[in-house]
């Protein structure tokens, strides 16, 4: 799993590429823990073609942490397979999901 961090338009943008599974979830979780007090985070998932419940848990934990300080969390670039897992888990309703990074950065 590759994790890239940059900032744009007031958002900390985390771009993930690779499998988001039980072997990589811990690395992503540790990265999220270093930024979860930021006011605005965008997670770009366009490079993630596989997610399991381990990845879902890490995203849910980030969403809960952001919610506690009224931070803004957005996701963009969900691939077809990831979106299907999101739908099955009921995650599509609890996350703000955008088709592109450009769209997600508009306030």
């Amino acid at each position: 799993m590759k994790i890239k961090r940059n900032e744009d338009q007031g958002f900390v943008i985390v771009t993930l590429s690779g499998r988001f599974d039980s072997m990589t979830a811990k690395t992503v979780e540790e990265k999220f823990q270093t930024i979860q007090d930021q006011p605005r985070i965008l997670v770009n998932m366009s490079g993630v073609h596989y997610i399991s419940s381990a990845g879902l848990r890490v995203l849910l934990a980030l969403a809960k942490a952001m919610n506690r300080h009224q931070g803004l969390l957005r996701l963009c670039g969900l691939t077809e397979t990831v979106r299907e897992v999101f739908d099955m888990a009921g995650f599509t309703q609890i996350f703000q999901i955008y088709n592109s990074q450009e769209e997600a950065l508009e306030l």
Binding site: S53, K64, T81, M88, A89, G90
Partner: protein, 136 residues
Amino acid sequence: MAMSLSLSNRPENLARLNQALASQAREWCLPERSRAHLELVAEELFVNIVNHGYEPGQPGRIDISLEQQGPRLRLIIEDDARPFNPLHDYCPQTDQNLESRPIGGLGICLVRRLAESIVYYQTADNRNRLIVYLPK
């Protein structure tokens, strides 16, 4: 031909399981979507057994096999962990709002959603045997 492998209960063996499934899926020319579903089901079940089935430090063996049965795939997972029937496991509601959503418990729910049918029983020598049928 069918796939069959035996793994010790170490989390990093998920990589070996993935490799075996991917190579079998290629050989059978499985559509991308069913390959993704198969990998997801196998990961959730394997990780669940490894993380929750054994006492810390207890060695264990997990046997996994996969075969084609007409329009379906049959995945069999057999282990010597403590008895666990995933059909009885608690499934969190997926329509709750963010704050009331529990962090865990999603894996087995995904398996139950993707499987066409699931059979669980204990073998005569007290091993867990789980048979999962998935559409191809």
